[in-house]
Amino acid sequence: MKKLLVSTAAFAMMAGMAMAQDVVRLGTEGAYPPWNFINDAGQVDGFERELGDELCKRAELNCEWVTNDWDSIIPNLVSGNYDAIIAGMSITDERDQVIDFTQNYTPPDPSAYLGMSEDVDLAGGVIAAQTGTIQAGYVAESGATLLEFATPEETIAAVRNGEADAVLADKSYLAPIAQEDPDLMFVGDDVPLGGGVGMGVRESDGELRATFDAAIQSMKDDGSLNAMIEKWEVSSTFE
């Protein structure tokens, strides 16, 4: 009898833990198409929405989407307001010191300059970038005049109205814009930055990280990840 009680208690505890663990909250920015954006129905949509849902299905997790400002996306993960970041975040050493990354779900992909004319001086001109991105850090080091804006939208606007000669951002973000607007074009060579995009999790959350790692690996293995990348045109595909 006693044994039974103990095991019931243990079962109840495990069930409680499983229930608490079951909901995994995914944090994203919701302002970076095609990676993640809010669609007309007010839902998070985009490559990462589809990817995240598929990963959660494979890992048998119950996932919920949360949007958070880009600036505070890491502090809020670290203090436990959601459990993983899936927001087109490039894997960098700086970030890796504070959080852990899963393996990348897109290969390292170039950033690119978008400008109004072919003969932009990329080394000495005025280059716009979003504050706090790896591109902003790169421009500051390159010697060009860095012009920082809070949102990606404003960086494009700055090029259109002549405040900046070019903008440096992820090529996948710029490509649909360049397609739409005949005045804007890619300038110069692509710049390889970052180590691909991965999901960010807390350093103490090794288990969750392993779960997502395995799910990403299984999607890489059966080719479904490449298909998704092609569908959303976010980057090159894995070999």
Partner: protein
């Protein structure tokens, strides 16, 4: 690297002197204090100049709002209403938009899209509207006897304004005006945060605090440092305004002076 070296490298970084690249690793406390302190130069610059220039416009607007002629009164009223009625956040947005479009009209406006001039103009207009309302309130509460006495002494027009109305208005408005000054200095943190782009990583104190928070992902160090700097700045502002207040009230008997000091806290 010693702290003194850091100070030499970064103390004037916000103006573009010293080390070109911001610190990229380590992020010592010394670097935090130096760079955020360096950014304070801009906060003081925006606050001090906007306050000084705004003071004169505020006087004009306050007189305008009190004028009988609707051609003078209405524009003053609308000016105060619009700038007091909307968030600074939105004012910066529209100002930047406006300056951008003016720029395409004439190269004369080139400098206006830079924070040092464009944001300064917005802050100047903003504080002029807020102070204008304070001064207007003070104008209305000038004791009737003071003005009657001035008339009896044969003062009129400019002399009456300069010698009687204006000093009394200032005396009455000073406590509230002190608070407006504090608020203005606090508002200067919005310049690079939402309104104007930062050039070459030259920004104000909040910009650098944000930079550190972005790199270390720890908001609990840079923002409290920023807060500390602002508490100091606020204390300085209160002290300076207190000195002026003493001078404005120097003719009053000791008892009455204390009475005015007590009222310092009434508004805001």
């Amino acid at each position: 690297m010693s702290c003194w070296q850091t100070v030499q490298d970064y103390a004037l970084r916000s103006l573009g002197y010293g080390e070109r690249l911001l610190p990229r690793e380590g992020y010592t406390l010394c670097e935090h204090f130096t760079l955020i302190g360096s950014g304070m130069i801009w906060n003081v610059y925006f606050g001090a100049i906007a306050l000084f220039a705004g003071f004169f416009l505020a006087t004009v607007v306050a007189l305008g709002k009190g004028a009988r002629n609707p051609l003078i009164r209405k524009p003053s009223e609308w000016f105060i209403f619009i700038f007091r009625g909307s968030p600074l956040f939105i004012q910066f947005f529209f100002a930047y938009f406006l300056f951008l479009s003016l720029k395409s009209v004439s190269p004369f406006f080139d400098a206006f899209t830079s924070a040092w001039l464009g944001a300064l103009i917005v802050l100047f207009l903003n504080t002029a509207a807020y102070s204008g309302e304070i001064f207007y309130g003070a104008l209305r509460s000038i004791p009737k006897g003071d003005v009657e006495a001035a008339d009896a002494y044969g003062f009129s027009g400019w002399r009456r304004f300069r010698k009687i109305v204006w000093p009394t208005m200032l005396r009455l408005a000073w406590p509230a005006y002190t608070n407006e000054a504090i608020f203005l200095f606090h508002s200067t943190t919005l310049v690079f945060f939402s309104g104007f782009p930062a050039w070459q990583q030259r920004g104000d104190a909040l910009y650098y605090a944000n930079y550190f928070a972005d790199k270390t992902f720890n908001p609990f160090v840079p923002y409290p440092i920023l807060a500390g700097y602002f508490i100091l700045l606020t204390l300085v502002v209160i002290a300076l305004f207190g000195l002026v207040n003493r001078r404005l009230n120097r003719h009053l008997p000791q008892e009455a002076r204390r009475g005015l000091r007590l009222r310092l806290n009434v508004i805001r």
